[in-house]
Symmetry: C2
Subunit: 571 residues, 2 copies
């Protein structure tokens, strides 16, 4: 330990101030580079990270947390099809909870500034392991190397720091003390009041398989910063990235003299899931869940007397009314849906287009013209192996491949449905055994809602004929109100139409991206600037991050006494 | 309508700024006078208020809200024992919900500043009806005139404005728009982003019988300010004060061109309670509950997928370790417990004293000396009819009288218990038929926890022998963790002991008042300065008010588009 806690607080003061400024102004900011380009890093860093990952293969991932009862691990690389053979400690839930409770006492007595500085230090140290993290994410989740580096690394850490900024604001709002003076009858009463922030209880963070760090960092840091210990439960097929994060958090805590059991990992197996044991424990007071609508919905309907923040999934849609440039629009959508083979919570699935076609700067384009443009744009990515590898990466689970292929078979010859692009593997240039699948694209006449009114978790694009542009917006927004939506997209050159549509999306609690072309992924969510999930539709009950995401994670307890009494006691 | 909405916003701008300053600094502030003294009001105002109340007797209280299916009202004055004979509209729950939904649309498009200004206007107009409100509170809840005026009038309105201050802060935290610029590859992306606050849904406010306005205003204003309509459900034996408030809120809304159905009243009867119908309605998204631990606890265990804020009740305690002045301490506690005949959520019930007695500035006082001092201090109030009337008022429900008298009978001759002051009515100087009861005081040896580990809703004081002062704190804090506590009190001249004890109270989520003597009621809760309820123990799950009380009542929806697209659409 080379540095004192107060030095750490000073060192990170500017960082948290900049983060608070960023969330206040919603401007672009990050303390990180989100590209794996060698030019940004010390020489050898990329190789060290890869070597660190490779050294884990077939080994125990030692985390010196309490209550270890065994070892588990069944991760299979979607790139190689091989088991990673890494095993992780299984801990007794009661012992992890007890350890967290014990650790909580001292953590609750730190200042907000200290906890925030320590969380920032955790984020910076996890960032320093970015290449190791990127290879880990690749080989458990299946993202491309570039996306694994940026999206699951600095972009996810930024979201954690964004949550810290909100925690800082919410805690700063609580005055530590106040003097209160008032005359009652003949008495001048002067009271000295103290206000103490008290953590709520143990936070459980349940992570998803395909993007494990993305919601984990905001939840972990929001709970930790407000004084709560966290137990992180990784998905059993994507433990490694969480193990790295937990290890680094524990190291920071230990380095500064805190009980590392403020952050522990609750690994489990698909056969013996452990989440509910923690959820049912009365000391677990905060639950952050990312995962399936099925389990998320179950939690929403059953969890009481605890805080519950969920992000599940929904039907992300694109409506095209008109566009300046159909090829650019098709390219933008194709990139969005191809990114990580549509396994992102923000991946578009349903494209709603007027059955009579759309207006473009080059004149009218029929429904089939638009569909053809989308197929062509997807082909441009799918048929170029280097592009496909960089954009699509792999499909994490065989289940997703089966689901898409089954769907394709079901829709071949289905009344009102036409498969206009078949899903098939592409050959990854570096990993010939990679599990890949290029998008299935299907056009659908009206009246096939049973097909597109559910999320198909895999590379599928439905192009759905709407009565007209308003009908397209009505379809997209109605489905979102019923089934949820995280990202929504609209293309229109008609200002009045956009104005009308915006109100429909707002009313339906849908975040909307309008007329997005160019090099930015249309479903790119910028920390500090884009609110992720509205909490207003079934895709989740929380926004990451806003004041509501943090303000209830701590409570305020006050004590007051006459100023004269304070003096006499002190004297 | 003499004034525009923008004029109203300007007019109340300073008021909300001062309220925000007050909650930030926790200083003493109020826009109101909280004394009914004539000198503060225009000539004739007190008489007009009394006359307005009296004119209601035996009449229908017309509220022109939709869905009226009948009339109800069974209020009985605890001062006269007579039925008030006022009846109130019963409305069909589905119709009230539909009306609120309809009203919500336009309300959601107002600005935060407009909604806050309108809520402030409601508060000011309710304040102007303060004397009518005071007589109404007296004759349904049974508070003394002075307390009815201040505690259920300006002090309660201040708490509403306090909630508005938090709503203002939480909404101000959301930037309405932002420009985001970043380079992606060869593209300079500039996005214009808009952030819209969206109300959560209909707010249901369930009021208690004995202090109906106290938590109603914060809940109503917190929901209204954040864009949600409210349906206020008064307790069936205390409808009148809520009817006045609802009527005034509706008048303000109508005056400024808004749908008055943003605020409606859901009266019901004890035989056919209606709350659950609203709670089960999916459009009701926010529930603020004040009332019994039984129903509040049921809601805490059953309500999911909605916001729920509860305040119920707990075991408020006093621990005496030592005191500068035993007579003053006894007087302070006696006044606290006598105030409104201990029917306040902040009334102390359990006095924990070391069995060996305490130290005072005048030397040692035995357990029995302390008990005798408490009896004497209560007698000073109870035996002076004018003092008794001003402090104790009446007992609202015969049930509370029966409960105390039954308890007294049960404890007469109970092993380890000694009734040292008998509960009996005092004769109210102005209302000879008033339902009154002076406090029962009982000393208890250790091992009688089954007696004092529940709230007895009525004038009862237990003086409980503890092993020593630390044991007294341990007993008080353990009981609060198990059964809840809203106010807690400690007397000690030992600074080290206070420091130790404070940590125990904080750890138990208990707000604490230390060494309070003098003219201020020890259980006086000052809006803007005292956080009411911690949410950390079973006495309630929410704090009124803090950021957490408001931040989740609205959500944020965003839309974003390239700056170039905005320009081209606008052109």
């Amino acid at each position: 330990m080379t540095k004192s806690l107060s030095e750490l607080v000073s060192q990170h003061q500017e960082l948290i101030e900049k983060a608070v400024d960023a969330v206040n102004t919603r401007r672009n900011w990050s303390p990180f580079k989100d590209s794996p380009s060698r030019k940004f890093y010390p020489e050898g860093r990329p190789e060290e990270g890869k070597a660190a990952f490779e050294a884990r293969i077939g080994q125990k991932y030692e985390i010196d947390q309490p209550g270890i009862t065994g070892w588990t691990g069944a991760e299979v690389s979607p790139y190689t099809g091989k088991q990673l053979g890494i095993t992780y400690p299984l801990s007794d839930p009661d012992i992890l909870v007890d350890s967290a409770k014990t650790a909580m006492a001292s953590w609750g007595r730190t200042t907000a500034e200290e906890r925030i500085a320590l969380c920032l230090e955790m984020a910076l140290r996890i960032y320093d392991r970015g290449f190791e993290m990127a290879h880990s994410i690749m080989h458990v989740a299946g993202q491309s190397f570039t996306q694994a580096y940026s999206g699951s690394g600095p972009n996810a850490l930024d979201r954690g720091i964004e949550a810290l900024a909100y925690a800082a604001k919410a805690m700063k709002d609580v005055a530590p003390s106040g003097t209160w003076e008032r005359r009652f009858g003949a008495d001048d009463i002067v009271l000295e009041k103290k206000y103490r922030m008290v953590p709520r209880g143990i936070g459980l963070v349940i992570c998803c398989a395909s993007f494990p760090t993305w919601n984990a960092y905001p939840a972990m840091f929001a709970s930790l910063a407000t004084g709560n210990p966290v137990i992180v439960k990784p998905h059993p097929i994507a433990i490694l990235p969480i193990a790295i994060a937990v290890e680094e958090c524990r190291a920071v805590l230990a380095d500064f003299g805190f009980d590392p059991n403020l952050v522990t990992m609750a690994a489990d197996t698909p056969e013996e899931p452990v989440a509910q044991k923690y959820i049912d424990n009365p000391h677990v007071q905060i639950i952050d869940f990312t995962g399936s609508p099925r389990y998320g919905g179950y939690l929403e309907k059953t969890v009481t007397e605890k805080l519950l923040y969920t992000e599940t999934a929904g039907l992300n849609s694109v409506v095209i009314d008109s566009t300046e440039n159909l090829a650019e629009t098709a390219k933008a959508i194709a990139r969005g849906t191809c990114l990580f083979s549509a396994q992102m919570c923000t991946s578009p699935q349903n494209i709603h287009i007027p059955k009579s076609g759309i207006m473009t700067a080059d004149g009218h384009a029929s429904f089939d013209d638009v569909a053809a443009a989308l197929v062509s744009a997807v082909d441009d990515i799918a048929n170029a192996p280097a592009a496909a590898a960089g954009v699509m990466g792999t499909v994490q689970a065989q289940n997703s491949v089966d689901l898409v292929l089954d769907l394709m078979e079901r829709l071949d010859g289905h009344e009102g449905a036409q498969v206009i692009r078949r899903a098939s593997p592409y050959v990854h240039p570096d990993f010939p055994d990679a599990r890949t699948l290029t998008p299935l694209i299907v056009t659908l006449e009206a009246g096939n809602e049973e097909i597109y009114s559910e999320e198909h978790f895999g590379p599928v694009l439905f192009i759905i004929a709407a009565e007209d542009a308003e009908g397209a917006v009505n379809d997209a927004t109605r489905l979102a109100r019923q089934h949820g939506a995280i990202s929504s997209f609209l293309y229109s050159t008609d200002a009045d139409f956009v104005d009308w549509a915006v109100e429909e999306y707002v009313r339906s609690g849908m975040n909307l991206t309008i007329n997005m072309h160019g090099a930015m992924w249309i479903n790119f969510a910028a920390a500090y600037s884009d609110y992720h999930v509205t909490g207003l539709n079934p895709a989740g009950n929380a926004c990451l991050a806003d004041l509501a995401f943090v303000a209830s994670r701590f409570r305020i307890v006050q004590y007051r006494q006459p100023a004269s009494s304070v003096a006499s006691i002190a004297a």
